[in-house]
Symmetry: C2
Subunit: 355 residues, 2 copies
């Protein structure tokens, strides 16, 4: 994987782009005007690992709530603006760390110029956030939806560049995975700015994480993408868990322990599913990037899970405990979970073992 090298920018204290780690964003789903509820959810998001948080700003009361919210939270805060440039100005005055504008619904050059001027003075980045479903008029001619999205983003980017502004990030979100992939690939070759990846309206977690994993996975594997948001109809912490799993699967971030477990089959000699679930829960409290395996049978177990720091496998009469593919000892099946937990404790206190 050779990462596309974008011009880095800062959202608060978080660097996005360049060689910075790919950052994880999410968005609150509280009423932004309800300061207490919004701050509470942002703190939940911080606990589950969000690095940049975005809030909707549908009206002036929401914009004015931002300064109180900002005082209560350590995370960088982005204001999501549609339609009304005055909400963007009010958000900037409230001290946000970033803006997201949709070129599909703020179109007047003089309005954009006012927002850009204030953002430039305050050194606040703006995301040009194009969505499949809300393209500005005049982009109906290009041969494909992805091309129309790219054209709309490029026009907005060029407008900002003419205004001497380059603290720009771009997103090109679509529900359709191939459309999204094509759009990001096209723009990645055209501009030097960081890219924020996402699939819009991806749906409920069961299907939404799959659409997001494919779309973002294909791009990240090509080195495209600097910050990601998984959009799900769910508590935003579920978005964050999914985002980190995508990054972990590609070796782009490390975060907590990884569970390796087999799908079980007619060869399984322990209750893999039940054990895997219990181990998974136990690993939630382990913050070292260790790899732990739960395998159904001893014949394949230790070999197939050779990369695991520690693991268990079912045997005929007993279970076995193994480390890095080598069998350490046999353990009565009823004690296997406790034996594994003890090994996890000892490994995770010793410090990170993974490469």
């Amino acid at each position: 994987m050779n990462r596309r090298r974008s011009i880095p920018l800062k959202i608060g204290e978080v660097t996005v782009g360049g060689v910075a780690p790919i950052s994880v964003q999410s968005m609150t789903n509280t009423d932004t005007r309800d300061i207490a509820a919004t701050v509470r959810q942002i703190k939940e998001l911080e606990d589950c690992g969000v690095e940049i948080v975005r809030v909707a700003v549908p009206d002036m009361e929401a914009a004015e709530a931002l300064s109180s919210i900002k005082k209560e939270i350590p995370l960088p805060l982005i204001a999501d603006i549609h339609f009304d440039y005055r909400l963007a100005l009010a958000s900037l005055r409230a001290g946000v760390d970033g803006l997201r504008l949709n070129p599909g619904n703020i179109r007047k050059r003089e309005q954009i110029a006012m927002v850009v001027a204030m953002a430039r003075d305050r050194e606040i980045p703006i995301r040009v956030g194009v969505n499949e479903g809300s393209l500005p008029a005049g982009f109906e001619v290009a041969e494909s939806l992805s091309r129309r999205m790219v054209d709309a983003a490029l026009r907005q980017v060029e407008l900002m560049e003419e205004m001497n502004f380059n603290l720009i990030k771009v997103s090109l979100k679509s529900f359709d995975v191939p459309t999204m992939i094509e759009a990001y690939r096209m723009i990645a070759a055209r501009i030097p700015y960081p890219l924020h990846l996402g699939i819009t309206e991806a749906g409920l977690p069961r299907t939404g994480v799959i659409r997001s994993a494919i779309g973002m996975g294909v791009l990240l594997y090509e080195g495209i993408g600097d910050t990601i948001r998984v959009s799900l109809s769910a508590h935003p912490c579920e978005e964050v868990v999914a985002a980190y799993e995508i990054l972990k699967a590609l070796g782009l971030r490390q975060r907590g322990a990884t569970l390796v477990s087999c799908p079980t089959c007619g060869r399984a000699q322990i209750d893999v599913l039940k054990l895997a679930q219990e181990v998974d829960r136990y690993l939630e409290e382990v913050h070292k990037p260790i790899k732990v395996a739960v395998m159904g049978c001893v014949v394949n177990g230790p070999g197939e899970a050779k990369s695991a720091d520690v693991g268990i496998a079912g045997g005929k009469d007993k279970g076995i405990l193994f480390k890095k593919g080598r069998v350490i000892k046999a353990v009565p099946k009823e004690n296997i979970l406790e034996a594994l937990k003890a090994e996890i404790d000892s490994i995770s206190e010793k410090g990170p073992l993974s490469e």
Copy 2:
């Protein structure tokens, strides 16, 4: 997407490779010797959409159970064999439609020759199923794990070709997503046979579907892969649901309705999450490939979900119902779910609307 064109073969009535639709496999996790339980699970798998089913054959009793199982099921049946070539011979005699052998643990040329000869006589395909963790000895020298896996598969393929056998499928599974992607890319360029994609020991659904979606998604998007199995520590039907979602996300298969729903934010004016869950359940019974949207706000809703055949969005006082991005009518919020269900019924009786 230009699909790699492999030599098609038949697993029972299902064509794998060539221009055949990418097929969905799963594996039972019952004790294969328990014929009733295994048949019952295979029927569940058939109901949830499996096209090819595999069972573990750990001993001779399991091999002998296969002919009784085969009589009770319409799905093509593959026997998964490790270590003992005699289990492969017994499975062939029992009438299976395919074999999976692991070159890591059946190594003697004369044993492989006996299996290949019987498979050739019966025109039964064999999958050369290499796994990261069970490589045969002698493949320690290559520069990368993916290369070692490819070398092991190629040696086995060449051995079979020397024996005048070419009903071959190949898999190169790994837990590590980049390793798996690299291995399949390499072998795709070297052999003309169909490829069975999978990530091994992917774990519990929450993380396993993400690893699988990325690994398979990257390859399928490049046109690599003819049949897939998502391995999860879960009921095998969860594997099947995930497999179809991967294929649907890339436009490679159609299956049932698709739900588009927004992540909700401070702009949402209806309870998107609750409505989306209810609509999702309702759509389980809809077998036409329609697209249905549940959107939080009316300002973005219909536009962002323009591709949906029908959808709802929250408004200030009422909800709205839209079709293909055009607002049809306003509906009191308490009736919005019923109004949507009525539209779904009318659309899904009229036949497929999606492209």
